[in-house]
């Protein structure tokens, strides 16, 4: 009888430690959906770049018209927004199911720690675009996003750490294959999200 109480105490301690330091309402499904959005985005970008009459092949490689650049930016922003909105909605749903609040100390910390590397990378990339150093944009988006995941993983499900590491590796690899940027982008943001999201969904959400 006593033993049962001790075991209960230990469970309670573990539960409290996790609950107070980690945001566990992140849903695997939002990862899968974000990956699908990214793949759709990559497909649209591919169409924009390679099947656009205004795009011409110059001596120094592909020259993308300003019209297409704007279109690409629009695609990127739409993918980002759709992913964030989906993530928020699914997290609220999951939190409700677990009888928890979404907006607590743990989730605040998760967002701040995710945003710091991501915003750093975002500004860095914007400055590069401004200076027209466009070559390294694909590797840099992947690397900074991966680092953001790694940094945030301390405050949420551990799997996010491995997702981050995988994406950083893909980002580093893509530095050597600049011309295949879009492919790496689809692999990192699309396929990785779907894979890890599915894994997390099977592991935590299906119960």
């Amino acid at each position: 009888m006593e033993n049962k109480k001790y075991l209960q105490d230990i469970t309670e301690i573990k539960n409290m430690m996790n609950k107070s330091s980690q945001c566990l309402s992140l849903s695997g499904l939002s990862g899968v959906l974000a990956g699908i959005y990214a793949l759709i985005g990559a497909w649209l970008a591919y169409k924009t770049i390679y099947f656009d009459n205004s795009t011409s092949e110059g001596y120094s490689g592909l020259i993308i018209s300003e019209n297409s650049v704007n279109k690409l930016l629009l695609i990127a922003i739409s993918v980002l927004l759709a992913s964030i909105v989906t993530g928020i909605i699914l997290s609220i749903k999951k939190a409700k199911k677990q009888n928890e609040t979404v907006w607590n100390t743990a989730s605040k910390r998760l967002i701040i720690n995710f945003a710091i590397p991501l915003a750093t990378g975002g500004f860095f990339i914007l400055f590069l675009i401004e200076k027209e150093y466009l070559d390294l944009i694909v590797p840099l988006t992947l690397i900074f996003y991966g680092l953001a995941c790694i940094n945030a993983s301390k405050y949420t499900l551990r799997d996010v750490r491995y997702l981050g590491i995988t994406i950083v590796v893909i980002g580093l690899l893509s530095t050597w294959f600049i011309n295949y940027g879009l492919l790496f982008w689809a692999l990192g943001f699309g396929v990785c999200h779907i894979l890890y999201g599915f894994m997390m969904y099977m592991k935590y959400d299906r119960k």
Binding site: E2, M16, M17, S20, S21, N104, T105
Partner: protein, 98 residues
């Protein structure tokens, strides 16, 4: 067996006190409302259990104002951390004994 029982700390022998310490072990500090929400307890209940831990010197209380709102933060002391660690070790030993 007797030695282990000695390490079971009476100060932690309550769900709410156990909860407060667990939260403070993994967080630098926690404010009153966060603890209240996490543990699902009433104001008075939380305050009295926090007071009990404070009088044992296991936690310290910091009161300050954020704007016009009073804010109470709790922080585990070194002493409290050691005591809680011993308590967990004792619990684990007791469970594995059987």
């Amino acid at each position: 067996m007797k030695n282990i029982i000695q390490n079971i700390n009476k100060a932690f022998d309550h769900r709410i006190r156990l909860g407060i310490m667990s939260v403070l072990m993994v967080n630098e500090s926690a404010d009153f409302s966060t603890l209240k929400e996490l543990l699902g307890v009433t104001d008075g209940n939380l305050a009295s259990h926090a007071k009990a831990l404070e009088s044992e010197n296991y936690i310290t209380v910091e009161k300050q104002f954020i704007g016009k709102k009073p804010n109470t933060r709790y922080i585990a002391t070194k002493e409290g951390r050691i005591a809680f660690k011993n308590h967990i070790d004792a619990l684990e030993k007791l469970i594995s004994k059987s």
